[in-house]
Amino acid sequence: MAEAIENSVREFIAENFLFRADAQVSNNQSLLESGVIDSTGVLELIAFLEQTYGITVADEEIVPENLDSIDNMTSYLSTKLAAA
């Protein structure tokens, strides 16, 4: 389950945000600090998670602890989906 989530998140980021051929992002790297995504990127990310997983990301969940790395997103989604 977690692995499937991780793969789909990674694929989305690679497809939409990693434009330079040499750009790599590790699972625990801050997407914002590393310049992979910017402020509007976070909104796109939320739209993707809501559409793909049928969840609603609440205002108070839009924090780096949930969204700012592939690891954080995977664990946030896993918790969210388990609660659903």
Partner: protein
């Protein structure tokens, strides 16, 4: 007084007081003064001379603030650039400014190296936060330059007509224009701002605004003038974190752009009055919809909300006093103290109230010209008593009391996220992609971002390109906010009788109401 002298002055008066908080770094006025002294001495020793342009490719951190003051103290001219700038554009700016040095962050170093390689130049490269083991080649470590003893005697500069900033802004031709602001210009604009905002040494201003833009830079200079504390954050990507930070640092001032106001007022569970220390919110760079202004007032009942208008060419032109916001919610107010701003008709005479004409700004804050472009400078600018006159190119009207209202821009610049995008610059990037026959770019109205960038393309016969491929291509060449959010494929693009591509009203909505900057 030059800008660096304001820091020396505040360091004398408020030495132990906190000047800057950026992430985990806190600098007192004495420390900011000392680090920028060391940077100035270090770069002077390495050949940076008064008048030299120095590019800054830095995000919002203490290195950027220390660099501004260090460069001013060395007599150099900071040229801060948006940190997501791409190598090709950076190489163009390197060449046009003939910069002697680039200050950057380890993360952007690859882009800087690539840009330098595209030129025949060998600027000094200064890299902040490089790993201990990282080989910087000829590059210098920022941290080395701001530590240790200063062995060069301090040199003070007096000339306030010397350039203080070279700011690049999107031009309607698609080529970025370098706006030249002198120490006197920056000082005049920031003194006026401190006056009308009533800034004091008790102020704590939290800013997420990029330091490549006038609105971001004025936060640094006004806080140093007032002896207040500036708290820098890198972005507004996680709005709740910023709201928490505002509470944590007991911020008294929060400068924003309307898209940020849209995100804050869109949050459901905020308690009115949850930031009791916040006294002032300022808004600039785009029109603030009256409904958002009203909601901000409800969420922050004790604040004074200032709606403002400016251009890079004069940093700030007008402001609407808070007590007028409910009475004239669509106005951007009147000229800032010590300057004038008025509407002229087609014959260049002051226009009657209600008549639409071009806004003209006069005063000591108006730029000295555009870098390397004598002709444009002459046309847009003329000398007047106590400063210069700037033709803004924006259409305005005034009401019977002299309050100003933005009507529209004369050019087709797109305003997205409070930032200016030249359609021509994006179109040029599109044409660089093999397979694109025709391209046009417009701004589409968006509830959060004001406008978003949309590309219309005609592809060559037999070529298949996807929207994603086109967006990715643009993202390799353009700063992130300029990259089209969507692409529409067409069989042909509408043309004028002279054969120029011209988008219709459906394809580009220009803002025609409210206060913008």
């Amino acid at each position: 007084m030059r800008i660096e002298a304001r820091l020396r002055d505040s360091a004398r008066r408020f030495g132990d007081k906190c000047a800057l908080i950026a992430g985990d770094t806190r600098l007192t006025y004495a420390e900011l003064d000392a680090s920028s002294d060391r940077l100035a001495a270090s770069i002077a020793r390495r050949g940076i001379k008064p008048g030299d342009r120095v590019l800054m490719v830095l995000d919002n951190g203490h290195e950027a603030v220390v660099s501004f003051f260090g460069l001013w103290k060395a007599g150099a001219v900071p040229c801060p650039l948006y940190p997501s700038i791409k190598a090709e554009k950076l190489s163009v700016i390197l060449t046009s400014t003939q910069a002697s040095a680039v200050v950057t962050h380890a993360r952007q170093r690859a882009t800087v190296d690539m840009a330098v390689a595209m030129t025949k130049m060998q600027p000094l490269t200064i890299v902040a936060q490089a790993d201990a083991g990282e080989d910087l080649g000829h590059g210098l470590r920022f941290e080395d330059l701001v530590s240790g003893e200063v062995s060069v005697p301090r040199r003070d500069f007096e000339d306030t007509e010397a350039l203080a900033l070279l700011l690049h802004t999107s031009g309607s031709t698609g080529q970025p224009k370098g706006v030249m602001l002198t120490h006197a210009n920056v000082g005049a604009a920031c003194e006026a701002i401190v006056t009308y905002l009533g800034n004091t040494a008790e102020d704590v201003v939290l800013s997420v605004l990029p330091l490549s833009f006038g609105y971001g830079i004025t936060q640094v200079v006004t806080m140093v003038m007032a002896g207040g504390t500036l708290v820098l954050e890198k972005s507004f990507a996680f709005p709740r974190k910023i709201l928490e930070r505002l509470a944590e640092v007991k911020a008294t001032g929060f400068p924003l752009v309307p898209p940020m106001a849209a995100l804050i007022t869109g949050m459901k569970d905020l308690e009115p009055g949850f930031l009791p220390h916040l006294r002032t919110i300022t808004s600039a760079a785009a029109a603030m919809p009256p409904a958002l202004a009203e909601r901000l007032q409800q969420l922050f009942p004790n604040i004074r909300l200032f709606l403002m208008y400016g251009q890079t060419e004069c940093l700030r032109a007008t402001y609407l006093p808070p007590e007028e916001v409910s009475r004239r919610p669509l106005s951007v107010g009147r000229a800032i103290p010590g300057t004038s701003a008025f509407v002229i008709d087609e014959d260049g005479r002051p226009a009657l109230p209600g008549t639409i004409g071009e806004l003209v700004v006069e005063g000591p804050h108006v730029m000295s010209g555009y870098w390397g472009n004598g002709l444009t400078s002459v046309r847009a600018l003329s000398p007047v008593a106590g400063g210069r006159r700037l033709h803004t190119g924006d259409l305005f009207r005034a009401d019977a009391d002299g309050f100003l209202y933005f009507v529209s821009r004369r050019d087709d610049i797109i305003k997205t996220r409070g930032e200016k995008v030249s359609p021509q610059e994006v179109e040029r990037a599109l044409y660089a992609l093999p397979g694109i026959r025709e391209a046009a770019v417009g701004g589409i109205d968006d509830p959060i971002f004001g406008q978003v960038v949309r590309a219309y393309v005609v592809v060559e016969d037999g070529v298949t390109l996807t929207e994603r491929e086109i967006i990715r291509h643009c993202a390799r060449l353009l700063e992130d906010y300029m990259v089209p959010k969507s692409v529409e494929f067409r069989d042909a693009l509408p043309r004028t009788t002279t054969g120029k591509i011209r988008l219709g009203a459906d394809e580009t909505n220009t803002v025609t109401r409210g206060n913008v900057a």
